[in-house]
């Protein structure tokens, strides 16, 4: 026969202070655990959303990032003449030769400077990134010293409101618009005309070339042809894959750090649950004896106490996840080590993270409850009844 579920539930309620403290400890651990996973997820989804699957990005071989890459005009010409490039409605190829530079700008919040990506794009650069929409002001005119800024740049850096000017490359650049990029990495960039920028920065090379494929499946043939062409020292990647790789180091760091911390903290929380459950068993020795005398099996006692421990975990987990979900309102910005530039991203709560956090919480509760529950189930009826 099974001991009713309410028995376990009411036991927790009977010792409210202890229950609250124990679940509080569990909740904090779950909070840290869930927050870290959310952060990692947020970073990944920001950068994954940046690239499009049928766009191809060409950079210098082994450059790793666009900032370190260089593609000279002769090479760019060879790349632009490939037959796999899709044509736009005006019959011109969908291709953008881009220049990426980093400049340091002062932040609004602290006044300290951080690196910001300036992207000089070709005429079709914006067209090829359908997630980008101008939300304030207008787009820049080709051939002028005008720039548009990403939404999170507008929020975080000084001198980036419409009508203000930024000085770099010996010129003043007027901000004429703010764009939204659907939460992707482009929101942390400033865009302008590539030809103007290449002159201002006195460069001779583009950083990268982005092009749209007319057939997504044609990627492998294009890649093979570009990379085996002896005139070129370039490599081609799908834009999506490229940005995914950009998130790797930081995401991995966040993940390892977070999991290490969660594991260390969980030791504390498990100990808390264990202390609570031991006390709960000790205080009810006579009760356990009575239950056993009434004919409840050892296994029923075991499962009743395990249920109680699990409930601690469930409550702690629910509170922790609820706390963590409030983090979704915050945005984090930090320098991505791979691209060496500032990137804004938010905490992203997915069903998978909720499930993982709850499983983690229940697991901690169970780990804390196993030994005390085993002790309770092993009690001899006579001894237990004699307690008190």
């Amino acid at each position: 026969m099974r001991i009713p579920f309410t028995y376990s539930l009411r036991n927790l309620w009977a010792r409210r202070l202890t229950t609250a403290l124990t679940t509080g400890g569990l909740a904090l651990v779950v909070f840290v655990f869930a927050t870290v996973l959310m952060l990692e997820q947020g970073l990944r989804s920001t950068l994954v959303a940046t690239g499009a699957f049928d766009n191809v990005l060409v950079i210098r071989r082994s450059a790793g990032t666009e900032v370190q890459s260089g593609v000279d005009r002769a090479q760019a010409g060879v790349v632009a003449s490939q037959p796999e490039i899709a044509l736009g409605s005006d019959g011109k190829p969908l291709l953008s030769k881009e220049l990426l530079v980093l400049i340091s700008l002062p932040k609004r919040s602290s006044g300290s400077s951080s690196n910001v990506v300036i992207r000089g794009a070709g005429e079709r650069g914006l067209l090829m990134r359908p997630q980008i929409h101008i939300v304030e002001g207008r787009n820049y005119h080709a051939g002028s010293s005008e720039i548009v800024v990403g939404r999170s740049i507008r929020e975080r850096f000084e001198g980036t409101a419409i009508g203000e000017t930024l000085r770099f490359g010996l010129r003043d650049w007027t901000v004429v618009g703010v764009f939204d990029a659907g939460g992707s990495g482009f929101e942390s960039e400033i865009w302008g005309d590539a030809d103007q920028m290449i002159q201002a920065f006195r460069r001779t090379m583009f950083s990268s070339i982005v092009m749209r494929l007319n057939d997504p499946a044609a990627f492998d043939t294009l890649k093979l042809r570009l990379e085996s062409d002896p005139r070129l020292t370039l490599e081609a990647k799908r834009e999506k894959i490229f940005y995914e790789e950009q998130s790797e180091v930081l995401a991995r760091f966040i993940r390892y750090l977070g999991i290490t911390l969660s594991v260390i903290f969980s030791v504390g929380a498990v100990i808390g649950a264990m202390i609570t459950m031991y006390a709960s068993v000790a205080a009810r020795t006579a009760e356990i004896g009575t239950l056993r005398a009434l004919g409840f099996q050892r296994s029923s006692i075991l499962s009743a106490f395990l249920t109680e421990a699990m409930l601690l975990g469930v409550v702690g987990g629910a509170v922790g996840v609820a706390l963590a979900s409030s983090m979704q309102f915050f945005t984090v910005s930090t320098v991505n080590w791979q691209s060496f530039s500032e990137l804004a991203f938010s905490f992203d709560l997915t069903p998978g993270i909720v499930a993982a956090a709850m499983a983690f919480a229940v697991g901690m509760g169970l780990m804390g409850g196993v030994l005390p529950a085993a002790q309770a189930s092993r009690m001899k009826i006579v001894d237990a009844l004699r307690a008190h």
């Binding site: 509080g24 904090l28 903290f265 504390g268």
Partner: protein, 384 residues
């Protein structure tokens, strides 16, 4: 008498006390490690000399300065030495093996950094070989390099495969000096760059300047930046410390997060500890009532709980502090050159003890008040 009672009480539930101590131990250990990680982040800034300035491009670090600036900088009043340095950013076998590599003007650079110490003979060997390199002790230990070894690097900023011969291994003047760096001849870099990317030749990423009088740092910085204003490469000059702090500021969010989390662990353990003390106090209500009936003052009854809580917290905390040293040493060996300096500071130890004491006191707060206020008649009747 009081002390004896406190210790006896603590030992009544051996398992519970042991578990609580274990919890405190882990929490204090984790707190110590996290603080040390934060310290490690700031180590570059803390060891920066106030008599060194760094001049870089005002646009950003990704823009180099022409080497013609070297002579102009040397002529600025108050500047005693100028050394150019370029970030090389090469990959050793696998991108995971990260360590900083700089191409430097060897003579002026090492004159500016007297804290890098190496045998005179080794340094001379290094000067004679254009492909030579000087590496830090920690870096050499991480990869098992010896003098005479050839180290291949794959360039990311400067494409190509580069081979370097280690001629010298430097030690730090003290344990706070970063010995995980890799230096080689700027000339070697420049000669090769001239051949493959002629436009990028004759540039330096930063210039490190030595100044005679640290008091004049601000004035000299301004004079330098004014000299290059409105040129093709405007400069930004700051003290080495400000330069290093700029890097920390980039990952400020992460530093703040780690700091918040390190306090969170203290909160978690406080909840666990408060729980233990609340339970102990509840079980002993009848004893406390008895003590009061015998005429003991409420504060003595209350201090029994406080004493027990403090004793458990401090013993657990002490063990945690002791364990921090070997764990930090292991961690440092594990992450290798990621954190060049990884040392448990005195402030960290003080903070660890302070947090253990705070946890002990706060955890005992409610239970001890409860114990002190217990009504004799009600307490005597209470059941655990």
């Amino acid at each position: 008498m009081l002390l004896k009672l406190v210790l006896r009480n603590a030992l009544r539930h051996r398992l519970r006390t042991a578990l609580t101590m274990l919890g405190i131990f882990v929490a204090i250990l984790a707190f110590g490690l996290l603080s040390t990680v934060i310290d490690a982040w700031y180590s570059g800034a803390n060891t920066a000399s106030s008599s060194r300035l760094v001049t870089r491009s005002a646009v950003s670090l990704a823009f180099p300065l022409p080497t013609t600036y070297r002579e102009k900088l040397r002529q600025v009043d108050g500047v005693t030495g100028v050394a150019g340095a370029n970030w090389f950013g090469g990959v050793y076998i696998n991108p995971k093996n990260f360590f900083p590599q700089f191409a430097v003007d060897p003579l002026p650079y090492f004159a500016l950094y007297p804290e890098y110490r190496m045998p005179e003979a080794q340094f001379r060997e290094f000067l004679l070989d254009r492909k030579g390199a000087v590496v830090g002790r920690k870096l050499a230990d991480t990869y098992g390099w010896k003098v005479g070894d050839v180290v291949p690097l794959r360039g990311t900023i400067y494409a190509g495969n580069w081979d370097f011969v280690i001629h010298a291994i430097y030690d730090g003047r003290d344990s706070k000096v970063d010995t995980s760096q890799f230096f080689f001849h700027w000339d070697y870099l420049n000669e090769t760059v001239k051949k493959i990317f002629p436009r990028r030749a004759n540039t330096a990423g930063v210039f490190v300047l030595g100044i005679a009088d640290a008091e004049r740092a601000a004035e000299i910085s301004q004079a330098i930046d004014a000299q290059f204003r409105n040129s093709l490469a405007e400069t930004l000059t700051e003290t080495e410390k400000a330069f290093q702090l700029g890097f920390v500021a980039m990952v400020e969010t992460l530093v703040v997060a780690i700091r918040v989390v390190s306090y969170l662990v203290i909160f978690i353990i406080m909840a666990v500890m408060a729980n233990t003390m609340a339970m102990s106090a509840r079980e002993r209500l009848s004893e406390f009532a008895t003590l009061k009936a015998l005429g003991f003052q409420p504060w003595i009854v209350g201090s029994l709980i406080v004493g027990e809580s403090l004793a458990i917290a401090l013993i657990g905390g002490f063990l945690g502090v002791l364990a921090t040293f070997p764990v930090a040493a292991n961690f440092s060996a594990l992450v290798g050159s990621l954190f060049p300096v990884f040392e448990v500071s005195r402030e960290t130890i003080a903070m660890q003890f302070a947090s253990a004491a705070v946890v002990g006191l706060v955890a005992a707060l409610i239970p001890s008040v409860r114990a002190a206020r217990v009504q004799i008649a009600a307490g005597l009747r209470a059941v655990a």
